[in-house]
Symmetry: D2
């Protein structure tokens, strides 16, 4: 693991997600830019001190030098965004698989470079758009693909929080500080941190690609340097329309992530805070509520559940589902087998690159105060 | 009553709303442009045939000629939109009070002319933005005004339906036909029919006025001449931001009207389909759910309830609340008294004029594909 | 109307329910045992003073003496319970149709006498178990009858309130006073006032009759003379089991009426506070949520709706549905026609008699501290 | 671990719960009565084959013989009920701490013997009434204790499932088979399997002890030998009343566990399927919804959360909270320290013994068809 030192939030989530199914064990780490903190964290986690490193460069180099079987199977990069590129590249270049937090990078160029590198080195590279790990999100995706709601015409996706409603960044809260600091977070705060999750979720479920967008970004808390609220209109390729909004200052919202997709013959509705249910509404028919753990779900949704229906699962399990697929894919590759297509169901480096592209398009639109082209095309090497 | 003949929907709602509290009785009508249909409807409603008229012109003229006490106290105009102006003017000019359905008119000029006329003639003139009649909407307004959520920074208001998801207008469904016909509905369908309700609801609760907007209007059903889906970004005077979306083709949505308002110190959330509850969320505090009928509500909300808490009230009662205030205001005026300020809590001709202005601004923005100025200013006479 | 004087609650509900569809008009009344109050209420309601009576005896006698067409079509009895028997009998004996509030009487003997009288005189007699007027309750009944959930094996019905959690009766609150006074309410408070509604609702939906029951009645508020909380186990004829609980002291509950019915192949769930939805759950299938106003509902449910789906209806409309059916039945009878079977869908004097029987069985069980026979059989004349 | 072989359900839950926080590692097991299956399971879990045993007797004996530090810290007993006593005793006698699934034993005598043994040997002994591990259940307990709802007067606790609605036991489903087999499950199925959870949950939150009860147990599926549905009336010591119902044949219910507690000044409401919220309702005040992860919760609830508010946690985390407290208590004991009182917040052997007592009281009441004394008193050694 790179990052995830004392005081970090997402590092612990990654660790719990990775061990929940007993498919992985933490073996090495460079937990902090401060070697002492890194060592302390390694001790607390019970690691062999010889595999607690002072930097990701050292870790990549020395782990890669270990014999196969002794070295790490993959690395999780859970640092602030500006360090993703360097860390991910260091491992991918050495043929070590990577799980990287989102957004993939601060700059489009870096994201594209990683995408190219991953293709060239053939490593497994996942980006933790973890909401796609929820069983009923997988069900939604399968149902939309199967035409359960006809042709998609409209998407409404939203992600509202309030943890930055007060100037906690100015007050020194560590998580808030780096996310609102252009040097570490890049050109955006709310779009980069949660808007990309919303964009990925909508794309994962519908398969639709954004063609044009019009963004209205606002910084409500005085003194903050990046936007803390964003409202976007979207035009999808093929004619569908969309609304995406995200906010870190929607007072009273905890983590309100919701996706509604409307098609010519029905609509679906999913909310993270009620994650074990998916609503399907079709004109002239009673609403259906599908629930996790039932045999009527598609295989991708069924196997993403660990408990019988009615016993609630949540965020950790969804995160663990991303990890489980990644680890099964790595294991298949290690065994010289073709991964099961169901195992390949995790967000890739291309998903990450699309996310970075989206962030920059939103910022450009807001600056230009109007609609901008936002179609993604991979840059040639 | 003008309009509300056989097959009409909203006419019956107006009639039920007007009689629920036994404050009014239907006395006269011009129910249809077809005199035979008008007579038939009058018979069915048990009216004196001598007061069932062939046209609103005839009705206005002859009712105005009756002695005070014998003539109608006010008229309800419930025709398709293009007839509102003529009918409302005919009565207002003669000093007869008017309750008019929304949108007020198809054209901005007509709306302004009515506004001016009403001022000149001093009649009571209400526009049935009936959602403002819900007790908890009144509570929300009072709480926002009192600062319960701090300074408002963001509004999300939505109104989704699916009754036009299929081409029922092309198939001859009467309600659908006129609403999608530019000659009768004006320049817009979804914004005019439900978007104005959303706009009024947000303005009623927050007091905020739109300064600029960017609208994305789409006609999804082939052959339809007016938009059936609309997504808007809003800039409010003073810096608040907004999202307003409405749709008649959101498959599976029945009448999903919802308003969320976020302030610097909290947020409120109200949905028409759960109308007896209002949610107040403040960072660091437990969510509060306020319910209709309780003594902890403000007077405007308390008196808008007819039943104890827990016995659900709905659309009819909210509509009746608009009527009750109008009728109490008319009664006070008739008695030479100053109306109770609580009685004046109904949407006025100016609210109607603002709505028409909003519709035209949205259409202009969509045509110009960008942000437009949308500030309302009354036109000088 | 008999009862419903100043300060009464349910009288106004009956009046609004009766006029909502413009099928009736209030013509006469004996609103209070105090003639002066009766006159005052008559004035406020705009009645002809000649038809405002000093007592129900006078009203029954004088109205019956009016020529057909001039006299009232039916009477609504909305007094405290102990007066139901006398008032209802006075009108029924004279061949005047009756709508009577519940419970029908305080004593089983009186209920049976009314049942016999109604049969003999052939009058229409309705008891306002108004919750059976909700469209989705009618849908539930039809679905259970059609076997949608297989054979019913278990019923859970509950009705919780908190308005008597404090000793408001001792403090002189009028509604509370008579309901906890054995002289006016009879042998029971919570079972009589709301438990009978729950019992009727369960029986209406399932058709099941109670065979045995075990009741635990408690008076929690010191000094109160009748029980304010009741928990019952039920054995239904044919083997189904049930739980019925009701309470006037469940702090924080407003009017929580809910019915769950489980069969061998599914379950249904309906709550008054979300009255426009009915949930159908079947093992191995997604949950279905049926909503008011849709064409997929049975005719009895469809015609009980006045508004399109999504516009909430509630308590008043359900109450009005009982009245509408009664009035249509009376009209058919007056016209010498056979009433439409759908019009006969209202609670009858036998339903009322069953309710009184149930109350007394519950009280007997609580006194005897054990299971008692509770099968209802009409007493021979 | 004893039990939890191939095909078992709860074994995997225990394993995930124990490792989620990286506080434990599975070291040894006797996973099945069939030594071959036990070995297979051990291999799949990656255990040292030398610590995969043929029986719990062998495991207890040989682990106890290992030097401290090398042996297991505690054992989890996750077999069918009839084996709990023998297994738990084997370890407890040897001074090895025990986590045992519920119900503790099939017979009251065995439960009491274990209780006595645990006291004598001084081992840590937890029974996995895991629902007490939910953060908001802990909050509810603290609030009730602090008087937030006044004196408790009524409890409604329910646990409904439908997995035994069809005769899956007769069809050979392993989980169903043993739970409906008197030889393995004891005298009860639904009360033993889920009713005890409900009873514990209510007692955990309110602190109330049952004094008398009246149970109605029914076997709805033909051929089944134990009850699959149970409805109980409860009298608590001190005058509170209760309803407890549980069912394995409530078609359409997945795992509907809900607790409502009413006091003289308010009520609380918690449902497992919405576990991150707790509702507090007080007369004359708006309802409050408390949510997991917030700083306004009591310490016991705060530290039971791993994620920020709004990111859903569920069943696994609640289960892990039981384990975490047990493991921290064991660690403190091992270190010679006094455990933190917050760590002692887990269900004990006495809770287990109370549960067995409750099961037998319910069965006795049902047989005798009436109220029975159900007060628990520990049996003298």
């Amino acid at each position: 693991m790179v990052g995830g030192g004392p005081g970090a939030f997402i590092g612990a989530v990654h660790r719990r997600a990775a061990v929940l199914d007993d498919l992985a064990e933490l073996a090495a780490g460079a937990f902090s830019a401060d070697p002492e903190k890194s060592r302390a964290q390694g001790r607390e986690l019970g690691l062999d001190p010889g595999r607690v490193y002072r930097s990701y460069e050292e870790m990549a180099e020395r782990e890669a030098a270990l014999p196969a079987g002794a070295r790490i199977d993959f690395v999780s990069v859970v640092t602030p965004t500006h360090l993703h590129y360097g860390a991910a590249r260091a491992f991918a270049e050495r043929g070590i698989h990577v799980v990287c937090d989102k957004p993939l990078t601060t700059m489009v160029e870096d994201a594209e470079a990683l995408r190219t590198l991953v293709g060239r080195r053939g490593v497994v590279f996942a980006v933790t758009h973890n909401y796609s790990g929820y069983p009923l999100v997988k069900q939604a995706r399968a149902m939309v693909a199967a035409g359960a709601i006809g042709r998609v015409i409209k998407v409404v996706v939203e992600y509202a929080q309030d943890w930055l409603a007060a100037p906690v960044d100015a007050a020194g809260q560590k998580q808030a500080e780096w996310r609102t600091d252009p040097a570490r977070a890049g050109v955006s705060s709310s779009v980069a941190d949660i808007g990309t999750h919303a964009e990925h979720l909508a794309r994962y479920v519908t398969g639709l690609e954004i063609e044009r967008l019009c963004a209205d970004l606002t910084t409500f808390v005085p003194g903050r340097r990046l936007e803390d609220d964003a409202n976007l209109l979207l035009h999808y390729r093929g004619g569908a329309r969309g609304i995406l909004f995200c906010s870190q200052v929607s007072s009273g919202e905890e983590n309100e992530l919701r996706l509604r997709v409307y098609g010519t013959e029905g609509g679906i509705d999913w909310r993270q805070q009620e994650p074990n249910a998916l609503r399907l509404r079709r004109p002239g028919r009673s609403e259906e509520v599908l629930r996790r753990g039932n045999a009527y779900l598609v295989p991708a949704a069924q196997r993403a559940a660990r408990l019988p229906p009615g016993h609630p699962e949540g965020f950790h399990e969804a995160f663990a589902n991303v990890y489980a697929n990644v680890m099964r894919t790595i294991a298949a590759r290690a065994a010289g087998e073709t991964p099961d297509p169901l195992d390949l169901d995790f967000p890739t480096v291309e998903d990450g690159a699309r996310g970075v592209h989206f962030i920059h398009a939103a910022v450009r639109s807001a600056r230009e105060r109007g609609w901008v082209d936002a179609a993604y095309a991979p840059r040639p090497d």
